[in-house]
Symmetry: C3
Subunit: 348 residues, 3 copies
């Protein structure tokens, strides 16, 4: 069950789940998105496939250092004098506040907009590249949230300062995938040799897709996909996993899986994607609920994760269970974003 070394899917620009790329050489280092020299040569963060396993391990080490800094509580000056600009073309308050707090906790400062569409309004018609090239005159790092898949890479190519994607539409949300895998490492103590159930809206949620990809870089991971019929995982991911030698199984019964897994990763059925099919939403929403009964089936050292927000797919009674890891998972997002900012900006 070793992963196939040369799987194209594990690297950027491979076919299928990654758009072809024709990057002009970065003005910063000439390096591609996958940093040849490991984490220290990272130039921008646009997709989780940039991170190979040694880089992930380096990143986790930095994230642990960030935990120590945060818990220490005294003023940190690692990024004192640095300014981060957040450029959000659609609101994502939770992600924005996590990035902004990360910068603050490192001693840096933040300038911010949630109205980035105004920057390049239809009336004015500025390109994303121009917006980035303007903003980089001011700030030391750009955090971009955009509504179009592929825009993060376009922006990173245009930028001469580091850029971190905070999600690009139906595309990637790399920091979510990184914080998810970091949470598994912290909670379970390993990522290799784990069984992970991905539950809920696997068709529409990029979170579950991204996590599946990143898990395929580890050894002996078994994935269970538990989704309502209307929201099953796409074929491309299953093909990728098979190609990587990562075992997977589609299951229709959450109970049967609950006692098997180390991680139950629940996701929200995204009502906003069922606009014209409310009956499909209702059917999907109620099907797989994590409640106290289900928790009784789970192993004592397993955990429940969720990218949040949740609606009713995990009942509030579960919150008190020490295996409910979703709020700790949110905190890990802070540490991972601190680690990325520190890595990209330290010594620059």
């Amino acid at each position: 069950m070793q992963r196939v070394a040369a799987c194209k899917g594990c690297n950027p620009s491979a076919r299928g789940f990654s758009r072809p790329t024709h990057r002009r050489p970065s003005r910063r280092s000439g390096a591609g998105l996958v940093a040849a020299g490991g984490l220290s040569s990272l130039a921008s963060v646009v997709e989780s496939q940039q991170f190979d396993r040694p880089m992930l391990e380096e990143l986790f080490e930095v994230a642990r250092e960030m935990e120590r800094i945060t818990e220490d509580g005294s003023e940190c000056k690692i990024l004192a004098g640095k300014v981060m600009g957040t450029l959000f073309y659609e609101p994502s308050t939770r992600t924005r506040l996590s990035f902004e707090t990360a910068m603050c906790r490192l001693g840096g400062k933040v300038v911010s907009t949630e109205n980035a569409r105004e920057f390049s309004s239809v009336a004015k018609g500025e390109t994303l590249e121009d917006t980035i090239r303007t903003l980089e005159q001011y700030v030391d790092v750009v955090v971009l949230r955009h509504f179009q898949a592929g825009s993060a890479r376009i922006a990173a190519d245009a930028a001469s300062v580091p850029l971190i994607s905070a999600g690009d539409g139906p595309g990637q949300h790399p920091t979510q995938a990184l914080l998810d895998i970091y949470t598994i490492q912290k909670e379970i103590g390993r990522v290799d040799d784990t069984k992970v159930a991905l539950v809920g809206d696997l068709a529409n949620g990029r979170t579950a897709r991204s996590l599946a990809y990143i898990l395929s870089k580890f050894r002996n991971v078994k994935l269970y996909f538990v989704a309502p019929d209307v929201a099953r995982i796409n074929e491309d991911i299953k093909e990728h996993l098979t190609e990587c030698g990562c075992e997977w199984e589609e299951v229709d019964n959450l109970q049967s899986v609950a006692s098997e897994v180390d991680v139950l990763y629940q996701t929200r059925i995204q009502k906003e994607r069922y606009g014209d099919r409310p009956e499909d939403y209702e059917k999907a929403q109620g099907k797989f609920i994590v409640d106290e009964d289900l928790m009784r089936l789970m192993k004592q050292d397993a955990v429940v994760m969720h990218p949040l927000p949740r609606v009713g797919e995990i009942t509030p009674q579960v919150d008190a269970d020490p295996r409910a890891a979703y709020f700790r998972q949110a905190k890990n997002g802070l540490y991972i974003r601190m680690a990325l900012l520190a890595t990209l900006l330290k010594g620059k």
Copy 2:
């Protein structure tokens, strides 16, 4: 005219003007909202009734220290390394900027949203409790503005970090009441033994109501209520004052009261609450105006206060009068909010 010691209205959870509460023990300290050990054991700020008289006096002492820090002008590091998150479900720019400046002046940092509804949109359906539990993973203190009465308490119960209410709909706006009473103390030199006229929209404005409650904790305070017929003060407050032994009188003539009082507290007729009754608004708006003629009737050591914004209920000519205290009152809001933040966060 001593206040009745055991008045239920002066304490949280009492009947009538305070909703019944069934708090689960705070995860922070197990303490109720009224801090048994005085100001230093304060966990969150959700209503002005939390503050008994010794706590108010302690708070004023801290606020005076904040004035010294601010006037000194050099960089203050009391809250260096701390991050405040503002979570505003409705815009209140003035209050938000006051809180944010308060945090900045103490050396802390701020992350902020005025679009908090997006956090828990109808489509996504996150509960306020979940939003708070997520935000508290990032920040050291939450400032909440909400449109529903009672939400501040719900949020404070859910939070494991200190929470300060910046107003919850028609409910409480505790920091406004605290800055008002601090302004009286500063301007008049005392709160006991004062005569205070509350003027304007006493039915709809929570400001006047809150101030009346907090004044009832002091000795020998006489309150005059001067409101248009359509906006008279509610019965519950009059009952509470009577119960406390606090003297009050409803008056229809502002002139007759002006020469009596130490404090004339003017408020804006809230046009937005008269949507379907424009004639009522017009009648109420023009009735009690503070202008230069009225100022001539007032005592030389009296002051005019107003929570701002004003429309025409105090004429601009009054601004030059040294007894016009409303902009100094706004500044006191900064000091009180600094004092609360410093109290809640220092040494944590």
Copy 3:
């Protein structure tokens, strides 16, 4: 070609292109808008005419110091302990982020609103003066963006803290004019003895107008106006230049001018101002394009400037030309705003 010493147009409050003013004496210094004692006595920034030539030279010296500070990269504490409030009545993300970064890079902090209309909503009806007098209780300097010409001066008159205009509707945008002239000085090495073509929407764009005015303070500047018929420069400016002894010429052929000038200042045709005349917009938009062909006609030491955003009036192929100065120009905006903030706040 010397400028006429006493031209009323070069000073504030002169007739024609500057509104009459009846300022009450500033509460800060009693000084008028033109600082008698040079840059150090500057109280507020509301229009570019406040800056005479010695003040501009002083300002440029400070801006150069700001460049050194920024490039040094270490934490700057010049404005540590100071708080800037941005009060934007209309969004202008680019300008706001430039000001906010400027304050951050000087060690100061920022509180910010893009929803300033809420401060004084129709329903509430607060005056701009009251809003300013409230905000100044909190912050050390106000940056105001407003939609009405003249509002910056009204606000500066009301303020007892320094105020900087970030543009007031069709009125002035003084920091843009200052950064433009600073860019010419840096790129060409002088402002005297230059030939400058202003191209594009000269009727609607305040940028070109402001630059023309400020250029008239220098010696032996020749201006070319190159605009489509529907967007020609207004008579008042031409009269002003003639009065100042500044040579100017209206030209219909960009090619013929390109080889002559030291600076080609391109501007965007503002589509939003052609709402009911789309055919006029189309005609104007395509008429004068800066592309690689045009660049071949230009002198080797000339530069192309643009206030940004651009649409198609400079083709992306031009960006790689070292004479393309528009992104460097954006960066100069940061330095000029840092210089103004440092000047207004240092030692206060």
